[in-house]
Symmetry: C2
Subunit: 502 residues, 2 copies
């Protein structure tokens, strides 16, 4: 089962924007990061008239000097703030094609925006780029219960798309905290990971086809309805994870899984990371094909969600907690496997205490403890968020290292995340944004990650805020080739500039 | 479990080459297909000396006019025959880099060759390209039992690589008939599918990183040890499935699955394709997470393997047979699920008869019936092989249509394959190669596939023999972009020319 999202990300917080402002939104990104604006044209009345005549004036939003476009210009984390004066809300692929063709000729920069739930400043403008909101392309196109293949337009909200799939006994193979407002097209553009990569794999494996509009307006039909389709180069992957810098995904087909009738969740406490690792290995061994999530939550992360949201945790005060979920087709079988696994881990002394349930309400209560951590940490005041992949053996070591490094500047340094995917969310919260703390963390954290041969971005992408750190995870030859690919697909550089590549 | 391969493909048949010649190998591809040789340089003594000094003369094989290079020039199916006079057998990535740098400057064409088990003429030269045999890069590099990540050089034979993984409780997530001689690097280059895509997904999902040598000799390090690594464009996918035309894969990291302790196989007989479809749906519903293969075998396909290899089938003479495999972590649970599923399908009248087993020997006997079909059909004399994806609802309709179309020119028209992936292997066998039959089948079969909105190549790729048919499955915009990508990565066109793109 998938639960209604407990969070309100992105568009969901739109009406809170003014409050954000009041609570200390950072200054304009361009100023804050001292970004030199590229030599793009500046939007004029003729441009606005063209877009109005193309789509209807009601879909062309202009800044009237009253911060009307603020929610399009500011990201969910309030960490970046663009200065766009124009938002376009096309309704069809053809309109997007016409817009890009026009912008390409006029040399106008464009920032595509989905649900605006990204965490690296990839979906909001850096300077005055035109914001191309995808929100109106939100139709589910087809869901085939026999093959499991579902297709939709890019701006389908993940939770809605999944709900439609479930009506046919299927589940969309991606799930993440922002599901109630993120767009599936944005998920593809950022190669989003989330809670169940362990079970469903990544989007490069499950996406069967995409429709893309290139910078020059060409509509590239790379749709496919087949799991096996080896006809020429697999171009669709260029657009999965390139964060809207190579083309704009407008449509997609994805392979869904059969929905699991039985879901169990265990929430357990452990004393050491060594026990966490052993428990993960045993989960893979004993739970095999029914293991669907394996999350790590350290003491301070749990404390954040419990305190900030006034939740009750079945167990508390262990250095480490694990949330282990199984999904299968037979509740009796699953329960036997899970109990056998838990007994083994308690006998070995790795799991000290815990709870296990297959009741929907209780499962949801437990998932809340994990899913509300990201926003709970923001409620601390301000939160620096890092998302790294690390070798499992030294997965958690970086948390105390960073804590020692930032000292009393931080309110809380904590780690949680997708242990089953070697993906740590490392967070540093404080009362309010502090440049001193920021400079204490970066680039230290990335240098340390590189030293451990980790990845500086596991699932959040590079966007704007990480582009200086790409070099820690990619060779110069690879970065050179990325530049060449960018130049091939978007020679004028109008698509989502200032992002991914320096 | 995975079984020792029952086939000897590719290099495994090298010593049978002379026999092939005697039995009627087609004439040179260049002549047969009237290929105009591109304006590449011709290998001279200076070139041979350079390669000898680089690698050692023993790794530079020349044609002495006695067909010594025949097995490198001829494909497994004996359907194409190149005319290369030079085979290079480098031992390191660095040597491959030096070779390509040299060839690129000299404008010498190169045909990379793995296990030579391909079925579309992609791995043998069309004219006189230098053959770059990968065979010596065959080291397993690392297998991590905790994360499940395994890395190796490109020419590891799939069966050997998998055996090493199994020593650590893991399974390489690809399996196909040619496993005893195909190279994992070749599997990646062709995005090979095989028997268990249903369970493990495709290689774009499971490959974590590659090392590639570009046409100009640049070594591109795109290796990664993480399931989640969103740092810039996901370039590795350009090399997965581009059949050696964009770069040569020299090393890779792949995510392995935990080995299943319990394997069951059911082999059942059915009267109609409608029953096949219902049974597949029920398999997904009742077997859920333990379903690991769902193969279809029609009556004539089964007859081929039974007769040509003198096998005994537990059931025979049904219009359709299905081989359904489960893999799980608990034999009792799996057996319960499987029995429940079979009972349901027998009660509904869809499955008429069958056998089910978890004994290794019996499982292997059943898989033989399926895995030996491809070579059994070659033993008919000559076999035209097609590999298409089709919408499941009309999956089998094309077989009788083709049969009617070719009439008595064929000995046997039959269909088998990976029903669970909508992937049909459609074969037409005859006593010996017949141009009349060939022209009767092609392009008819591709036109018909296109009409059904199928894919003209499910898992075999485009190679040389299908390149005229790419247009049936890809839009002209997509093909144009493929050409641009080719030009970007291999501007002189030295890598595997005459393949994939016209």
């Amino acid at each position: 089962m998938r639960f209604q999202s407990m969070l309100k990300f992105g568009n969901g917080v739109r009406n809170q924007c003014r409050m954000y402002m009041a609570s200390g939104l950072p200054e304009f990104t361009q100023k804050h990061y001292n970004v030199k604006r590229n030599n793009y044209a500046i939007v004029d009345d003729k441009d606005v008239n063209f877009f109005g005549s193309l789509m209807g004036a009601q879909y062309v939003l202009q800044d009237a000097g009253t911060d009307d476009l603020l929610c399009y210009n500011v990201d969910f984390l309030r960490s970046v703030r663009g200065n766009s004066k124009l938002v376009l809300r096309p309704g069809t692929t053809q309109e997007i094609s016409e817009i890009l063709k026009y912008c390409n000729k006029r040399h106008l920069a464009v920032c595509p925006q989905g649900g605006n739930t990204g965490l690296v400043g990839g979906a909001v403008p850096v300077c005055d780029e035109i914001i191309l909101s995808m929100a109106r392309l939100n139709k589910v196109l087809n869901i085939d219960e026999i093959t499991g293949i579902a297709s939709c337009e890019a701006a389908c909200i993940l939770e809605n798309f999944d709900a439609k799939a479930r009506e046919k006994g299927l589940v969309v193979p991606i799930d993440l905290g922002a599901k109630s407002s993120c767009h599936i097209g944005g998920n593809l553009s950022t190669n989003a990971g989330g809670l169940r990569v362990l079970r469903y794999g990544n989007l490069h494996g499950s996406v069967l086809g995409v429709e893309v509009v290139l910078a020059n307006g060409t509509i590239l039909d790379l749709m496919s309805n087949f799991k096996k389709d080896n006809t020429g180069y697999h171009l669709k992957h260029l657009f999965i994870g390139s964060e809207g810098t190579l083309g704009i995904i407008t449509k997609l087909a994805i392979l869904c899984q059969t929905v699991s009738s039985s879901v169990h969740v265990a929430f357990v406490g452990l004393n050491s990371f060594d026990s966490v690792l052993k428990t993960f290995l045993n989960a893979k061994r004993y739970l095999g094909e029914i293991l669907s999530a394996c999350e790590l939550i350290d003491e301070r992360s749990l404390d954040a969600s419990v305190k900030q949201y006034n939740l009750k945790s079945p167990i508390e005060n262990y250095p480490f907690h694990m949330l282990i979920e199984t999904s299968g087709s037979n509740a009796i079988h699953d329960s036997e496997k899970l109990n056998f696994f838990l007994e083994h881990c308690m006998n070995s002394g790795d799991i000290l205490n815990g709870t296990v349930t297959n009741e929907v309400n209780k499962i949801q209560e437990i998932w809340k403890l994990r899913e509300l951590i990201p926003t709970a940490l923001i409620r601390d005041g301000f939160c620096f968020k890092y998302d790294i992949s690390l070798p499992l053996r030294s997965f958690y070591d970086i948390v105390p290292v960073l804590e020692g490094h930032v000292g009393k500047l931080a309110k809380r340094v904590c780690g949680y995340g997708h242990l089953g995917d070697s993906n740590l969310h490392l967070n540093v919260s404080c009362e309010e944004y502090s440049r001193e703390l920021y400079e204490r963390i970066e680039p230290f954290i990335y240098e340390h990650t590189a030293k451990l041969k980790g990845s500086v971005s596991a699932e959040h992408g590079i966007g704007f805020t990480k582009k200086n750190y790409l070099k820690y995870s990619k060779s110069s030859e690879a970065i050179t080739m990325m530049r060449e690919v960018k130049k091939l697909l978007d020679p004028s550089g109008i698509l989502n500039p200032y992002k991914v590549l320096n």
